[in-house]
């Protein structure tokens, strides 16, 4: 199995590299990035993320990643999955397009930019057109150029992720059609859920249940809040009970279940984020506590070793030495949300450092697809999405930066208020 997998990876890498012959203009950016990452791994490996010395303002970094996402919107309205240094932009990716929609609305609100609203609406319309009669959304990249022999397969995870976008789009626009289609998607998810609360079978990736599908439960919890349907709420709760049973005392989460792949931080962070957000939405302390435990284990690793590994083995005992940047950004979001819930400043402290480090990992200058892009791995040749800048990395970094902005402002305002009251009281005496 492993040799077949390695073989298929090698063939894919060879095919991608061959694309350079058709696009020689990509050679220079590729060589430049390889050299830059080689330099950083040689000289700064132990202190890859030297957060104290960053000079990139948060607003510049946010603007850059959002500009990357906007440039990645395809003609059909969907967002590309990635920009490859070898092959350029991919086709539109329904899953990511779905959960980028809330980010676009958040940035639009922050920047008062109506252009972003239009982009979010275009993306929503494209997604609505993709929905299958069952209510499900298809798996994989969208083949807009027509591949008639490929029959779209329904996907649980993509449906859940797209559902997040639809719920938010409905909240922003008030369009009943969006809600109708969101409810159809939620009904489909509830209908095919297993009795134990998991999702497996043909619509699940590799046919098996995964704990990172907690993101689907979160989407259902969001839908339940607007559909007022107990069906969606029950489905979310059922999945969360199943999820919590997979959280081990060590903080490790069983059941990531990716054959042929290690447990990349991206998937571990998905599992934690889904359980945490679902716990918050459904007001379940057991879910919040389970997520907090795993998040705390990773926080300690990050603080002690100054980085998180790109993938981990069971019980976080070992892993591969590269950085999964999108997983790092997701963990930053998790820590920030935990700070919001618990007011434990150690979460905020870790997230501030992580964000500084992530800001350093993006190139503010460069060609289209590169500037503002978040690489799958650091170094760029790492095993997670090698040689690619990925749209979901940009989405999570944008989320983390916006959360940081909101929470630090709230913290500083409340802190200043308390402090000035105490100073006034002291001066009165």
């Amino acid at each position: 199995m492993t040799s077949t997998f390695m073989g298929s990876r090698a063939i894919r890498a060879f095919k991608e590299a061959a694309c350079l012959l058709r696009a020689p203009q990509r050679v220079l950016p590729l060589v430049s990035r390889l050299a830059s990452d080689r330099r950083r791994t040689t000289f700064e490996y132990r202190h890859l993320y030297s957060y104290s010395s960053t000079t990139i303002p948060r607003s510049d970094a946010l603007q850059s990643v959002i500009a990357w996402i906007l440039a990645a919107q395809r003609r059909d309205g969907g967002i590309a999955a990635y920009y490859s240094l070898l092959t350029g932009y991919s086709e539109s990716y329904p899953e990511v397009t779905g959960y980028i929609i809330p980010t676009l609305y958040d940035v639009a609100r922050l920047s008062q930019d109506s252009c972003l609203l239009q982009i979010a609406e275009r993306a929503t319309q494209w997604l609505l057109a993709l929905q299958m009669p069952s209510g499900a959304f298809p798996a994989g990249l969208h083949r807009s150029h027509g591949e008639p022999d490929v029959i779209a397969q329904p996907s649980v995870f993509n449906t859940g992720q797209i559902l997040q976008g639809l719920v938010r789009a409905h909240a922003e626009t008030g369009e009943t059609q969006i809600l109708r289609q969101a409810v159809a998607a939620g009904d489909w998810l509830a209908a095919i859920q297993q009795s134990d609360g998991s999702w497996s079978g043909p619509a699940a990736y590799q046919g098996v249940a995964h704990t990172y599908y907690s993101m689907v439960a979160w989407a259902l919890a969001q839908l339940a809040a607007v559909s007022n349907s107990s069906r969606h709420a029950v489905a979310a709760d059922k999945n969360i009970v199943w999820e919590i049973a997979h959280f081990k005392p060590s903080g490790w989460i069983d059941g990531i279940n990716l054959h042929e792949h290690p447990a990349y931080l991206h998937f571990i962070a998905y599992a934690i984020q889904g359980v945490l957000e679902c716990g918050i939405a459904r007001r379940r302390d057991d879910a919040i506590e389970a997520a907090a435990k795993s998040a705390w284990v990773l926080l300690q690793k990050f603080e002690i070793h100054k980085r998180l590994l790109g993938s981990y083995e069971a019980d976080f005992k070992a892993g591969r030495r590269f950085s999964c940047l999108t997983g790092n950004a997701q963990m930053s979001c998790v820590w920030l949300r935990l700070f919001e819930v618990t007011r434990d400043l150690r979460y905020l402290n870790a997230a501030l450092k992580m964000n500084e480090m992530l800001k350093q990992s993006i190139a503010l200058k460069g060609g289209r697809g590169i500037a503002g892009g978040v690489a799958g791995s650091f170094p760029i040749w790492g095993p997670y999405q090698p040689m690619r800048f990925i749209s979901w990395g940009c989405k999570f970094l944008a989320d983390a930066l916006m959360l940081e902005q909101r929470l630090t402002r709230e913290f500083e305002e409340s802190f200043d208020e308390k402090t000035s009251n105490k100073i006034e009281a002291a001066q009165c005496t």
Binding site: E44, H47, Q300, L352, F415, T419
Partner: protein, 286 residues
């Protein structure tokens, strides 16, 4: 009592101050084990982090003798008393070692076989840690009584790094704790635990930290005397498993801690003014 020093560098001011203070009290160390100030790994790292110009500037600043008088070259002014000697002030451990005739040995890692062999050769009753590596069990077992550390916060409330800053932000009283090091982070048995009242005129977080370090030096001396006389004994931390560990504080939070310090300074100044005025009123009545 035979005491060995474990320091982060021969240039560690705190290490010098502790060694010098103990020697002033008659406890001349049997030796000091310090980490190398420069090695190829550090050099490469600094080069990558700071660039060539800043790295060279840092190296020059470290190596060039200060033009100012030795006393003025002390970075922590609150350690002056501990560092003072007849010809000025100690600037590094080698000077302290030369004055009190104890060896200063440099190693790459305090847990290395060579370092442990050196410690065994000194056969100390007690070791005092002022910085360096996270100490492993093999080294911790060498001194008969254990390895002492001065922690700049009250234990067990605030463990780990940036402890004065975290104390301020978490609303825990400032304090210094002298404890034995064990396999955990600041979880070892406590010898002395003292709230840091201090004066109300801290200029900054750095000033506060410097004052607390000076307080720590005095408390270590007190703990050594107490241990020898048998007047104090270690008390195990009862909530050893509780997760009170804190980590290096981000600059942004340090600004908030600094504001909290300012507020504390003002409230202490207010309280002082209040007690003076009440005292005057009471005196008049009497």
């Amino acid at each position: 009592m035979h005491i060995a020093m474990l320091c982060s560098s021969a240039y560690s001011e705190t290490g010098c101050a502790v060694a010098s203070r103990l020697a002033q009290l008659g406890y001349i160390p049997v030796g000091a084990l310090t980490l190398r100030s420069w090695d190829s790994g550090t050099l490469l790292r600094k080069l990558g982090q700071w660039g060539l110009r800043d790295s060279v500037g840092y190296a020059v600043a470290k190596l060039r003798p200060a033009k100012t008088s030795a006393c003025k070259a002390i970075r922590n002014p609150h350690l002056k008393a501990a560092l003072r000697h007849e010809r000025g002030a100690f600037r590094n451990l080698r000077e302290v070692g030369a004055a009190y005739k104890f060896p200063v040995v440099t190693c790459a890692n305090q847990n290395s076989r060579r370092a442990i062999a050196q410690m065994k050769q000194w056969s100390p009753d007690l070791a005092i840690f002022t910085g360096g590596n996270i100490l492993r069990r093999k080294l911790l077992e060498v001194p008969r009584l254990g390895v002492l550390n001065a922690h700049l916060a009250l234990l067990p409330e605030i463990r780990g790094m940036s402890s004065p800053e975290w104390s301020l932000l978490c609303g825990v009283p400032l304090g210094v704790t002298i404890h034995f090091i064990d396999s955990g982070i600041d979880t070892g048995p406590i010898l002395l635990r003292r709230e840091f009242a201090g004066a109300s005129d801290y200029e900054s977080l750095e000033d506060l930290r410097n004052r607390m370090i000076a307080e720590g030096v005095e408390l270590i001396a007190e703990a050594v005397c107490g241990l020898e006389r048998g007047t104090i004994s270690p008390v195990a931390q009862n909530d050893r498993e509780k997760d009170n560990q804190f980590f290096v504080m981000h600059e942004r939070l340090k600004v908030a801690a600094s504001r909290r310090l300012e507020q504390r300074r003002l409230s202490l100044a207010g309280a002082c003014a209040e007690s003076v005025s009440l005292g005057g009123y009471g005196g008049g009545n009497g």
